[in-house]
Amino acid sequence: MNAPPTGSLARHGGPGGAPPSAAAARGLMRRLRRAKEPEQGLAPRGGPLWATLAWGLTLMFFAPVAWMVLTSLHTEADAATNPPSPLASLTLNGYRELFRRGVEPYLINSAMASLVSTALVLALAIPAAYALSIKPVEKWTDVMFFFLSTKFLPAIAALLPVYLIVKKIGLLDNIWALIILYTAMNLPIAIWMMRSFLAEVPREILEAAEVDGAGLLRVLTLIVWPISMPGVAATALICFIFSWNEFMLAVNLTGVRAGTAPVFLVGFITSEGLFLAQLCAAATLLSLPVLLAGWAAQDKLVRGLSLGAVK
């Protein structure tokens, strides 16, 4: 938002329409270079103090996760001791119990809800972002604000009307209700992210391609797509994580058939009896898909994040 897209914006006479200055172009080139060779643009490496601090913080963030995994491998009795007993013998019983209780349909529902909604979000957000950055429509800042404004109301405040509408159209306990809601929920975020990624596509390259006679399709497939690919990956991952973890809508709008994994997860919480190990096993299993998606997209993500909104 802060840096208005140069070049094309000026041509369309949009807000802040100053002519593309040489300084802006130079700044852009510098940023591009930095993205390609990250080490050169950065400050000199920090000393051992910073290294210790970074490692300390990393371990601090990782410790609860490690604890969860460790607990998931203990027996219920060992998991609940006070003080904790990290060296207790390991077992896979917690995981066996998960499959005995039938986690599979819930995983399928979750996968379906998150993957389909993410695909829909991308299909809608990329063209919208294109129309807001590379070829901005008139009053594009107002459009952006409108998208953002849909996130102002806390979702829980809209729960009752949403429930009634979903019931009225007969989509209660239907995974498509969640797909539609997750798409709507993630769309504004995706548009904002994609806009800032697409705004980073250097106008000079687009202009050069046009001068060389490349049609729109060629420009899109050969220039815009490869450059914005990391941004798309980052956006997709965020949308996937949000819809995979969503609980409130899932627990209220599903019942017997369309329950998602987080709804299955809380079923282990009981007021009588021990459940920590099983709950941790379920939580570990459910965080795996997100973790794997993150790993698979890791290199793209790092580039995406350093190129995009988060600089």
Partner: protein, 466 residues
């Protein structure tokens, strides 16, 4: 001019692109949809049966047990497939309320506690079960313990829930530690005696505390045992004509006693301790006594998870001014009025609360795991008697002798021991319990907590005063 042409081409390309992406995703979606539907409906195995019912329940151990054995027994015999959905208590309550209020009809059976059965029955949300229970001679409804039947009835006297398992509360203590210290636990101790024992047993073993008492906020957490202490010390939430009594001298005395006892000789971190934490503390030899649900005994005597199996003695709930002071609770199966499969649902409910089901669990999963505390006949089964030798009799007697209509020294406005049977109580009890839990953790005082509680209780009482 060139610009216009370009933007038109852009629009066409974008539209085409979007359409193709949508087409792709919708294909993938439809495939995924059908497979997920198929998978989910067969969640508990089987499937393909002519009839299926949906059961919503909490995840207590007895409920996970029934989930394990339904397919190979009930479904095999009747052809009715049972799909279980497990949710924690609060979410379950919301779901059933939603489903019934909106005529959703998603669930045919749900686990409902003794607190809600009369309230929901009054709201007209539940299907009566009297006719089903009495029509089946084999079911032997007369065998179900009277206090439980009373607690699960509506105002019209009909049963709106059939008990899956029931419980009262009693005092569990370490026989071996008592012997070492030369102490004897009376069969019916008083709270004064218990406090005295707690002081003497504190530190009997390295790291061992005198007693474990719940301190976790929640009307069904700290206030379950605490309200029984209030009852027996002469206090009450409300008088019969709905005068709030939360800051009365008796209520204050009881809460002060409880908080002081747990602060001085209770488990560490008592403000966050509930049933689970105390079960752990007791079975890991961290405390010498524990006052809680009778259903805890089965876990304590299970050598696989407990280090104290065989070393625990059981005494009646401690008293002061009353003769008995145990609580009364049951998890029951209820049928939301919106069900479209009442007969199949009733079949399931009758099966799961029958004598045969208890036998089935005993033989398949072990006798200590039988969902007990609801039928007199359970305590006559030789195998169960052997498995529950230490606590069976006292459990049965505790449940039999408590009086939900008259649990304290004064008449009450509603029927119920550790709760007031009005919808507002869950919220009221939980709010007051938060301040008391804080007092146990060392911030705030009991007097302040009860002064706030009195204001809240007066608000609630206004609605019922005539």
């Amino acid at each position: 001019m060139n610009l216009k042409a370009q933007s038109r081409r852009l629009a066409v390309t974008a539209a085409f692109g979007m359409a193709s992406v949508l087409a792709l995703t919708s294909c993938a979606g439809a495939g995924g949809g059908s497979s997920s539907d198929g998978g989910a409906s067969g969640a508990s195995g089987g499937g393909g049966g002519a009839q299926s019912i949906n059961v919503l329940m909490v995840g207590n151990p007895q409920m996970t047990d029934i989930q394990k054995i339904t397919a190979e027994t009930f479904t095999k015999d009747t052809g009715i497939t049972v799909n279980y959905t497990v949710l924690p208590e609060n979410e379950l309550r919301d779901k059933v309320t939603q489903d019934v209020a909106n005529q959703g009809g998603q669930y045919d059976v749900a686990t409902v506690g003794m607190y809600e059965i009369p309230i929901w029955a009054k709201n007209g949300w539940l299907h009566e079960l009297d006719s089903y229970a009495k029509a089946d001679a084999n079911y032997d409804y007369a065998d179900v313990l009277p206090s439980i039947v009373k607690g699960l009835s509506g105002e019209d006297g009909k049963a709106y829930g059939l008990p899956f398992y029931g419980e009262s509360s009693f005092l569990m203590y370490r026989k071996d530690i008592f012997a070492e210290k030369g102490l004897t636990m009376p069969e019916r101790p008083t709270w004064t005696q218990v406090a005295d024992f707690a002081a003497k047993l504190d530190g009997a073993k390295p790291g061992m505390k005198g007693i474990c008492l719940r301190g976790l906020p929640g009307w069904g957490e700290v206030f379950a045992p605490l309200t029984t202490v209030v009852n027996t010390m002469g206090g009450t939430w409300f008088t019969q004509d709905w005068k709030a009594q939360v800051n009365s001298p008796e209520f204050t005395k009881a809460v002060n006693f409880y908080v002081d006892l747990v602060k001085a000789h209770g488990e560490p971190g008592a403000g966050q301790a509930g049933f689970t934490e105390c079960l752990n503390a007791m079975s890991q030899e961290k405390v010498a006594m524990w006052y809680d649900a009778t259903s805890a005994a089965g876990s304590l005597e299970d050598a696989a998870v407990s280090k104290v199996a065989g070393k625990v003695g059981y005494a009646y709930a401690p008293v002061e001014a009353t003769k008995a002071s145990g609580w009364l609770w049951a998890w029951a199966w209820a049928m939301p009025k919106t069900t479209k499969k009442a007969d199949a649902a009733a079949k399931f409910i009758l099966w799961s609360t029958s004598k045969d089901y208890e036998k089935l669990v005993g033989e398949k999963l072990g006798w200590p795991r039988v969902p007990s505390g609801k039928r007199a006949s359970t305590y006559a089964i030789p195998e169960y008697k052997a498995a529950a030798a230490a606590f069976g009799d006292i459990t049965l007697k505790s449940i039999e002798e408590v009086d939900p209509a008259n649990p304290g020294v004064q008449p009450r406005p509603t029927v119920g021991i550790q709760f007031v049977t009005i919808p507002e109580f869950a919220d009221l009890g939980t709010k007051v319990s938060q301040d008391i839990s804080a007092a146990i953790s060392g911030s705030g005082t009991v007097e302040q907590a009860l002064a706030n509680g009195q204001k809240l209780a007066e608000e609630v009482a206004k609605k019922y005063q005539k």
